[in-house]
């Protein structure tokens, strides 16, 4: 297909084209590498390129097709990973100072190895908030990742590079991590789809931890079908991650396709208001109400104790990350990220009783939410309080009050990841042209429901479509 803008295509379209011989993996990977070289100087999503590896993986896929072998589900799809995933031959930065990074990784993280097994081609590693502690990807060592839709705004965080790279056509999908919102916030700000699976749903093996009790990993992509295909390719038990509890099962992608064709009759949907409206600006409330209307939501729910859930997530995050980095803070404070080292150090000083209370409350909140899922299949809530904030912005003005921006952008995501529920962040348009995300929240293990609902919104033309500038070759 001469002139096809492969860098804008969905991952499943690329894989189909490579598998059928319509295009070579080499052609597509080269095209995306060219896009990165042209575009990333203004966005700063990548921290390292793995060009040689990408071209070798592409050559291996093309050879496979020529030999007539069965093609894998992500054949020739260019992707990139947040720089907290181990990539063989690279030092795993986790957003920190290069000089403080350990030795180069001797093997790939589990998900990187599985992506390679599925035929995907690794383009490089992506910028993030240092140690994954932040929501803006304003990184003192590697620079700010700019929002592809407005370079004066942030891409969100902590997986900001992962969101921006997909939004700017610099890879077809990416991997990120989400402890308190770090997939859903960049999805919202950058206008791409993000999946935070159930806690333990995808292996964290070979990724740098931040908060063991809350860390999740998952994909970003341009649509729900891609997320489903990537999830299917990556899911599976893994002894490297003690929390990983999900084995491969029925195809989620097949369910997504079915929903796109047949709809989701009988889906029981509720919209979360109360806390979620109090801490949402007008764009976020409008987006969440629009989605609720599209699904003919049966109820609006004002859940009790959501502020306590957010508080508990905040305390667990501060305590565990403070403990994890205590040695670094003691010995190398000056080499740590100035934007979060004091919060991390403060976290290491918190009373143990606060942490235990947070963990006990977690069970209470989980049970309360599980009771809801007896009545509803899907809950709808805004993903971020507002559209992407400006670089350097210090405060958010919200209906609930004025709050410091950096720790508060995850106000609406934190209570959900706190109990490990699967969420798809779906981007919607706003009046000012910037995207904003809505969380589609399902019961544990029901990624299929959230992804099918996202696919139905996408098929109905309700989701954000980026205004793309002319291709660099046009």
């Amino acid at each position: 297909m001469s002139g096809t803008q492969w860098e804008q295509m969905a991952a499943w379209q690329i894989a189909d084209a490579v598998s059928s011989g319509e295009a070579s993996a080499h052609e597509i990977v080269s095209r995306v590498l060219q896009t990165v070289r042209y575009r990333d100087a203004n966005i700063n999503a990548y921290t390292d390129l793995t060009e040689q590896r990408a071209l070798e993986e592409a050559a291996a896929i093309d050879a496979k097709r020529i030999r007539g072998e069965t093609m894998p589900v992500l054949a020739g799809v260019p992707y990139a990973v947040k720089n907290l995933f181990d990539v063989e031959g690279l030092a795993t930065l986790a957003g920190g100072h290069r000089g403080r990074a350990g030795p180069t990784a001797v093997s790939d993280a589990t998900l990187v190895a599985r992506a390679a097994q599925a035929g995907a081609c690794l383009i490089g590693t992506l910028n993030m908030d240092a140690y994954a502690y932040g929501f803006t990807t304003e990184n003192s060592f590697h620079g700010v990742t700019r929002n592809p839709h407005d370079p004066l705004r942030v891409a969100g965080g902590s997986s900001g590079g992962s969101g921006a790279a997909v939004a700017a056509d610099m890879c077809a999908f990416s991997l990120g991590s989400d402890t308190n919102g770090s997939i859903r916030v960049p999805s919202s700000f950058c206008g791409v789809f993000g999946l935070k699976p159930t806690y333990g749903g995808l292996s964290r093996g070979g990724s740098r931890p931040f908060v063991h009790n809350l860390d999740h990993v998952g994909p970003f992509a341009r649509g729900a079908r891609d997320l489903a295909r990537i999830f299917d390719a990556l899911v599976g038990l893994d002894g490297r991650d003690p929390a990983c509890s999900r084995d491969a099962g029925p195809s989620v992608e097949a369910g997504v396709l079915r929903a796109t064709q047949e709809g989701l009759a009988g889906l029981r949907v509720a919209r979360l208001n109360g806390y979620f409206d109090r801490w949402a600006g007008p764009d976020a409330r409008t987006a969440s109400r629009s989605v609720a209307m599209m699904f003919a939501a049966q109820e609006e729910l004002d859940l009790p104790d959501v502020a306590a859930a957010r508080a508990a997530g905040f305390v667990i995050t501060a305590s565990e990350s403070g403990e994890l980095y205590r040695g670094e803070l003691q010995a190398h404070y000056e080499d740590m990220e100035p934007l979060n080292r004091d919060r991390m150090l403060a976290g290491s000083l918190l009373p143990a009783t606060w942490y235990v209370q947070a963990q006990r409350f977690r069970q209470h909140f989980y049970r309360q939410m599980m009771a809801l899922f007896e009545r509803f299949d899907l809950l709808v809530a805004p993903a971020t309080p507002c559209v992407a904030t400006e670089i350097g912005q210090q405060w958010l003005e919200l209906p609930g009050g004025r709050v410091p921006a950096r720790p508060s952008i995850g106000l609406l995501t934190q209570p959900i990841s706190f109990i490990g529920l699967p969420v798809v962040a779906v981007p919607l348009p706003t009046a000012n042209g910037m995207p904003i995300g809505v969380q589609l929240i399902a019961a544990p293990g029901r990624e299929d429901i959230a992804l099918a609902a996202a696919a139905v919104l996408e098929a109905g033309g309700h989701t954000f479509t980026p205004r793309r500038s002319a291709s660099h070759e046009d």
């Binding site: 009790n213 929390a243 508080a311 501060a318 004091d342 150090l345 976290g347 000083l349 069970q363």
Partner: protein, 72 residues
């Protein structure tokens, strides 16, 4: 769920208390913080305390067990 007295709120009303707390506990944790660091860490403790307040105000039933390894 029952509301309890909120210790974080009491501390957040007194900036010097958070500084004193940081000074004592940081030594116990092996840090050697200068005055400027102490001030910044105390400010962060105050922020965490404010966010934590709705949690700390709850009186949880004794039978509610913690979830150190969480498997939904």
């Amino acid at each position: 769920m029952e509301q309890d007295k909120n210790p974080a709120k009491d501390l957040s009303n007194s900036g010097s208390t958070w500084r004193d707390y940081a000074n004592i506990v940081s030594h116990a944790q092996g840090y050697q913080l200068d005055e400027a660091q102490l001030g910044r860490v105390a400010a962060q403790l105050e922020l965490i305390g404010m966010v934590a307040a709705p949690l700390l105000a709850l009186q949880l039933p004794a039978e509610l067990e913690p979830a150190p390894v969480f498997r939904p």
